[in-house]
């Protein structure tokens, strides 16, 4: 019980620092690498919660594919990688106030609503249960998401090609 809390707080600290790194760093490639820290930490939290399948999907899809796509985007747009240029616009302070306000409201509501509720992970969720849910109850959303991915694929090709 204590061990999993220790693991949680270590991961949470790494994720929080990584998240701040994403929005604060002056090097775009470093931002992508901080994002890897956050997403890997998220995958580890999923395993801590006994939800393995989505953890490995997160590793494969996010860290494997999306980050590579981001790095492609960074290289193709010749993003600035010199620490002296600023990457923020002049809305930094209003944005910080908005974010603090939002986090204050959310934390207040969460503490008020879910005070003392415990997560008891007895056994991990089996992948078979997930596939049963997807291919019976959620088969129509699943197919729609497939069509959406096809549309996104074709759309990206059409947008990005040179003609």
């Amino acid at each position: 019980m204590i061990a999993e809390n220790v693991v949680f707080y270590l991961l949470a600290a790494a994720m929080a620092l990584g998240a701040i790194g994403v929005v604060r760093t002056k090097n775009v490639v470093h931002a992508a690498l901080y994002l890897v820290v956050v997403l890997a930490g998220g995958a580890a939290q999923f395993i801590l919660l006994g939800q393995e399948f989505v953890a490995w999907v997160q590793v494969l899809v996010y860290i494997g594919a999306v980050i590579v796509l981001f790095l492609f985007g960074i290289m193709l747009t010749r993003a600035p990688m010199h620490p002296k240029e600023t990457l923020d616009n002049d809305l930094r302070w209003p944005a910080a106030v908005t974010a603090l306000f939002l986090v204050g409201i959310l934390v207040g509501l969460l503490v008020h609503t879910f005070h003392g509720e415990k997560v008891n992970v007895t056994a991990p969720i089996r992948t078979g249960q997930i596939t049963n849910a997807i291919f019976t109850t959620y088969i129509i959303p699943f197919e729609v998401v497939g069509v959406l991915l096809l549309g996104a694929l074709i759309g990206a090709v059409v947008l990005a090609r040179k003609d």
């Binding site: 999993e4 949680f8 949470a12 929080a16 998240a19 701040i20 994403v22 929005v23 775009v28 931002a31 994002l35 956050v38 997403l39 998220g42 939290q45 999923f46 801590l48 919660l49 939800q51 399948f53 999907v57 899809v61 996010y62 999306v66 796509l69 492609f72 960074i74 193709l76 747009t77 993003a79 990457l87 923020d88 809305l91 209003p94 944005a95 908005t98 974010a99 939002l102 986090v103 934390v107 503490v111 879910f114 003392g116 415990k118 997560v119 992970v121 969720i125 089996r126 249960q129 997930i130 849910a133 997807i134 998401v145 959406l148 991915l149 549309g151 759309g155 990206a156 947008l159 990005a160």
Partner: protein, 99 residues
């Protein structure tokens, strides 16, 4: 483990992402901040799935993951197009519609 541990971490990630969306100038960094927000939402879904000892949290998290991947693909294509037309991926330069 308390449920709130996960929910507050997710709220923090979401708000950090919101800050990034508002304060960042480079389009790729704005997309990364959106990914940060989606990561927070996913953590919420999975935490509630574990709380109810159900697989549905994972099912919804998978749908969010899929849509995030599609969004990044389209988003980066649009960023490339902006870069090709304006020779910069700086969102402050995209002000044609500004009055």
């Amino acid at each position: 483990m308390l449920l709130n541990q996960f929910l507050i971490l997710a709220a923090f990630l979401f708000c950090t992402g919101a800050y990034g969306v508002l304060a960042r100038k480079h389009a790729v960094l704005v997309l990364m901040s959106i990914e940060l927000m989606l990561a927070g939402v996913n953590l919420n879904l999975v935490a509630f799935g574990a709380f109810h000892n159900s697989e549905l949290g994972q099912v919804f998290a998978l749908f969010v993951l899929t849509i995030a991947a599609a969004e990044v693909g389209i988003g980066l294509a649009i960023v490339l197009l902006i870069y090709r037309n304006l020779h910069s991926a700086d969102l402050d330069d995209v002000d044609t519609m500004k009055g």
